[in-house]
């Protein structure tokens, strides 16, 4: 029932990398960042290992985008440091960035191919135009993302999913070790969200480390192997969804009461428990009492979910 009401299938990952032993890609140490003297996030410490898939959650203004920008070196750093670890072959890690689609000027006269080529501006050398080799690479990455036929299309004429794939292609053409995505599922329909999350899952399985920000706790965050929750200008919790998505943490992060339902490895967050519990009532078996909204004890985990009709 829960699975059916939420069409996003979980991403199947291998076992999460043992972070203590896995090769480090980015280390963030006691980092405080902000804009023009205003502190946005303080004392953040965490590590991103190769092969990880991390979701950053938190309310608007909690510093999710700023954290991504800190890794990109695009924000004022007041204290602490960000280290990008070199690979065994001493190559500096490559980072791909996909901005929020809301920030893109969709009326800009530019085609899908021209956008993707921006990801290779350095490799293209002094020429303003693309060589055959560059165009071949663009075609390859677009084919890989299933939008090979949209190469000459203006970005204005793309659907939400195609737009997201275009900007993903720009990031992927640089063959990044770490992919940073800012709200990749905001403003897209359920089907597109589903496609994007699975596409990212595939990329992650093929070896790309991914870090994304999201507001979508149930459809995105609960499917990721690791979450970093930001609130009150700091990291509140960091770990697997089962550890991070608890009523105590969510209260601290969002400043609101939330109910957490667990079934097996699935976690489901109800963000308006007072309003929603009644509507969730039919989910629960007749013999089971619906959990009370203020209940934040692990007893909720014992609630069994009845199969849908």
């Amino acid at each position: 029932m829960v699975e059916r009401s939420n069409p996003t299938r979980p991403i199947h990952h291998g076992p999460p990398p043992d972070r203590a032993r896995a090769e480090a890609l980015v280390s963030v140490n006691a980092l405080s960042i902000g804009y023009e003297g205003t502190l946005v996030l303080r004392d953040a410490t965490f590590r991103v290992s190769r092969g990880e898939f991390i979701g950053v959650v938190g309310p608007s203004g909690s510093g999710k985008t700023s954290l991504l920008r800190a890794i990109l070196g695009q924000i004022d750093r007041f204290a602490g440091d960000v280290t990008l670890h070199r690979a065994a072959d001493d190559r500096a890690p490559r980072i791909g960035y996909v901005p929020q689609v809301e920030t893109v000027d969709w009326n800009f006269p530019i085609t899908v191919e021209q956008v993707v080529l921006q990801g290779r501006w350095r490799e293209m050398g002094w020429r303003p135009w693309a060589r055959v080799h560059d165009k071949k690479l663009v075609a390859q990455v677009l084919d890989r993302l299933g939008i090979g036929d949209l190469r000459t299309r203006s970005i204005r004429a793309l659907s939400g999913g195609q737009q997201q794939r275009t900007f993903l292609a720009r990031a992927l053409i640089g063959d990044p070790d770490l992919l940073l995505l800012d709200e990749p599922t905001s403003g897209v329909d359920i089907k597109t969200r589903h496609e994007i999350i699975h596409l990212l899952g595939e990329l992650n399985r093929s070896g790309t480390s991914i870090m994304l920000t999201t507001h979508d706790l149930n459809a995105v965050a609960t499917h990721l192997p690791r979450l970093i929750a930001l609130g009150e200008g700091q990291i509140i919790s960091d770990g697997a969804p089962e550890k991070v998505l608890t009523p105590e943490t969510l209260r601290q992060v969002y400043g609101a009461e939330m109910l957490v339902l667990r079934t097996g490895h699935r976690v489901y967050v109800v963000d308006h428990p007072d309003d929603d519990l009644e509507s969730l009532g039919p989910l629960f078996g007749d013999e089971e009492a619906a959990p009370s909204p203020d209940s934040d004890s692990p007893s909720i985990e014992s609630v069994s979910l009845r199969d849908g009709p």
Partner: protein, 288 residues
């Protein structure tokens, strides 16, 4: 028909107008897409102040205007970096003050009314060979710089923050662009004048934008519109006996109206075509 070509000053005027048309259109593409149309307008006014100061101080116009223009650009950049001052407010304060310096000097002196009018509306017939050479040199400089910085300029114009995240040296690119804009304004002032320059920066790119969704094609179309209207504007002004700057801008406005009508008609036809396709598809669904 070929009468204007018999006069050396008219040939100079037509060449200068073509160059200025190309120059303003090329830089204007970036100005329009960066939503900086107001900066072009402001900078022209600011440089007018510099022109008057140069005249009074007996300094070469190009030297004085360049220094004045560069100082204005850096002051605007500096002021708009403060959170409390938005970019358009910074442009308003600095360029209008710089313009006011020119007006003040003129109102006190009162002896250069003719130069005042020339600076405001352009004085193409007074263009010397040196002016022509300088305008051509600026054109060359602008095109070489655009060639070298093309990818970086397009990327920062499209998305400044993301370009920076991809390693584009955005500050350098912004600085280079500001200087190109200032050089374009200075080189075009004599042909178009302060009041008409902003139009020449904006109309050809906007016209081109109506006709294409590709950046490179927009650039080429804007360049063609700017160059041809520059040439024919000067040419027609001989027969109409009108101000060349005004003739150029009105010609550009006429081309814009034609492009707008074409774009409107095309999108209506496309919409009608789409509706018909949908209707046929609906009929097919009903039949089968």
């Amino acid at each position: 028909m070929f009468e204007p070509f018999d006069f050396e000053f008219m040939v100079r005027a037509m060449v200068a107008s073509s160059i200025v048309g190309a120059l303003t259109a090329a830089v204007g593409v970036f100005v329009v897409l960066r939503r900086l149309s107001y900066i072009g307008h402001g900078l022209a006014h600011s440089i007018f102040g510099g022109a008057v100061v140069s005249f009074v101080a007996g300094i070469n116009f190009y030297v004085g205007a360049t220094v004045w223009g560069a100082v204005s650009v850096f002051l605007i950049n500096g002021a708009s970096k403060r959170r409390q001052i938005s970019g358009d407010a910074a442009v308003g304060i600095i360029t209008t003050s710089a313009f006011a310096v020119g007006v003040l000097l003129i109102s006190r002196g009162g002896r250069f009314t003719r130069n005042f009018e020339a600076a405001l509306f352009g004085e193409i017939l007074g263009i010397s060979n040196t002016d022509l050479a300088i305008t051509a040199a600026v054109l060359l400089l602008v095109f070489v710089t655009l060639f070298v910085f093309w990818k970086q300029l397009v990327f920062t114009t499209f998305d400044h923050d993301v370009a920076s995240a991809y390693g584009v040296p955005v500050r350098t690119v912004e600085g280079v662009f500001s200087l190109l804009l200032a050089a374009t304004v200075i080189a075009s002032l004599q042909v178009l004048g302060v009041t008409l320059l902003a139009a020449a920066l904006v109309i050809p790119p906007v016209t081109a934008r109506l006709l294409t969704d590709s950046f490179s094609r927009m650039f080429v179309i804007a360049l063609a519109v700017g160059t041809l209207t520059g040439f024919f504007g000067a040419y027609l002004s001989w027969f109409v006996d009108s101000s060349s700057g005004a003739t150029i801008v009105l010609l550009q406005a006429a081309v814009f109206v034609v492009a707008l009508s074409y774009a409107t008609a095309r999108s209506r036809l496309l919409r009608r075509g789409a509706r018909q396709t949908e209707r046929i598809a609906g009929l097919e669904r009903a039949v089968y």
